[in-house]
Symmetry: C3
Subunit: 184 residues, 3 copies
């Protein structure tokens, strides 16, 4: 094998290696790790008894019972959703997810979240505060854990959101994989 | 007293001790500590001259001068309230509390806050940024201090909210006990 | 020169020195530094094709195509703006600024921001999450970087906003000077 081929092979392997591993590999180990689910039913004008969230703001021309026409751009939703340990909405809740999100893109669905988990179970007591973007069509989306109280006093970390289930436009379940890297 | 009884007594005392102290005792000492008050008058349609906040979003069927029927669920309020050093609304302001909160529960009153203190006094110059849940009927509520500028450059900590006073639905004063644990 | 005069001179120099330097001089060196621009066109009822943001909430009596009468107090705006490396809106975008701001003062224009930069360029991949106050008439305004993902995993820092350009009430460009002090 000549020197030229070796060089080509070398660059090919380099490329194969770099594309095999993600660019921003996280080398840190979490000091605490939680996986939780929350389940949301958006109010659509007919489901008042079941709804756990409501559209409270909409762009010009839209209303508060139908998600806005351009990929929901301009809607703000306030929610108070049950949190469970597994992906079964009927499991006993261990807390509530409370806060808001807004839809912020016209040509695809992306959201921005600001909310808290209020946990009240045998294992965990306290709150966890989150903010960050949720581009809902990506398989996983990372938002920031910016603080907390009780068992999560001053904690920071990353929460990875995955859509676990959805039914039409007005029901979804999110899986939240929370890795804390500052634990106190 | 036999050994057996001693052991029972020991465990009883241990239990008594552990239940007497809160589960998540904070063992850290703040590097900076501030107690401030802010005072809010919500616009109700007739108090424009005094109002320091306004309802700007509401769920389907509600309006912007009356807090929403189910424990205010679905309201977003924008505020700009005077901050004082003591609980007297007529004391000289040392800054402004600016931002928003939203009501996020139907069966009781809970809020979620995102706001800043802008301080401009002899003692402190700079901003402090907060987010977190405020379940208003609990005696104390902990939210996160996620950053700041000026005297509070990069600071993190916990702010404990207490309702100091309220009058009807449209006026309240909050006591904010801010403990910084990262000071820079 | 007597001892008395020396002391007076000493205190005078001390005063001159301390007033020459800003009170809260930041002695820290950033571990990463980025300067980016983003450009926003607010929907005003006639510019749907160009608009990158929309008013989605307003106080009682105001509407969603005209900024509210008292220095925009009570408006919430949702945005999705192109980010560029220089202050030319026609430069190739390196990402999107996504989130919201609200106007929170009646007697002057101040805003409060919660948003993310989603960067997707050769140099940077990942998100940066911001919250904080933006008193738009001050030359520079500091908000908090509270977290991030990808290249900005767990980062914290300060972003200094400057108005780079504006045209009437419905178009502006902001310069964002981001200094990270916790880099991971």
């Amino acid at each position: 094998m000549g020197a030229r081929n070796s060089i080509v092979l070398f660059f090919f392997m380099l490329f194969a290696l770099s594309s095999a591993s993600p660019r921003h590999k996280n080398k840190y180990k979490p000091c605490k790790h939680l996986v939780l689910y929350f389940h949301e039913t958006v109010y659509n004008g007919t489901n008042a008894a079941d709804a756990t969230s409501a559209i409270v703001a909409a762009p010009q021309g839209a209303n508060l019972t139908i998600l806005a026409p351009q990929n929901y751009f301009g809607n703000i939703v306030i929610f108070n959703d049950p949190i469970t340990l597994d992906n079964n909405i009927h499991s006993k809740p261990v807390g509530r997810a409370q806060g808001f999100y807004l839809y912020d893109r016209k040509d695809t669905i992306t959201a921005w979240f600001g909310f808290s988990f209020i946990l009240n179970s045998t294992d965990y007591q306290g709150s966890i505060n989150f903010i960050g973007p949720n581009p809902v069509f990506e398989k996983t989306r990372d938002i920031s854990v910016v603080g907390g109280s009780g068992d999560f006093f001053m904690h920071r970390g990353i929460a990875t959101l995955t859509t676990d289930a959805f039914e039409g436009k007005y029901f979804f379940s999110l899986r939240v994989d929370i890795k804390f890297y500052e634990c106190w």
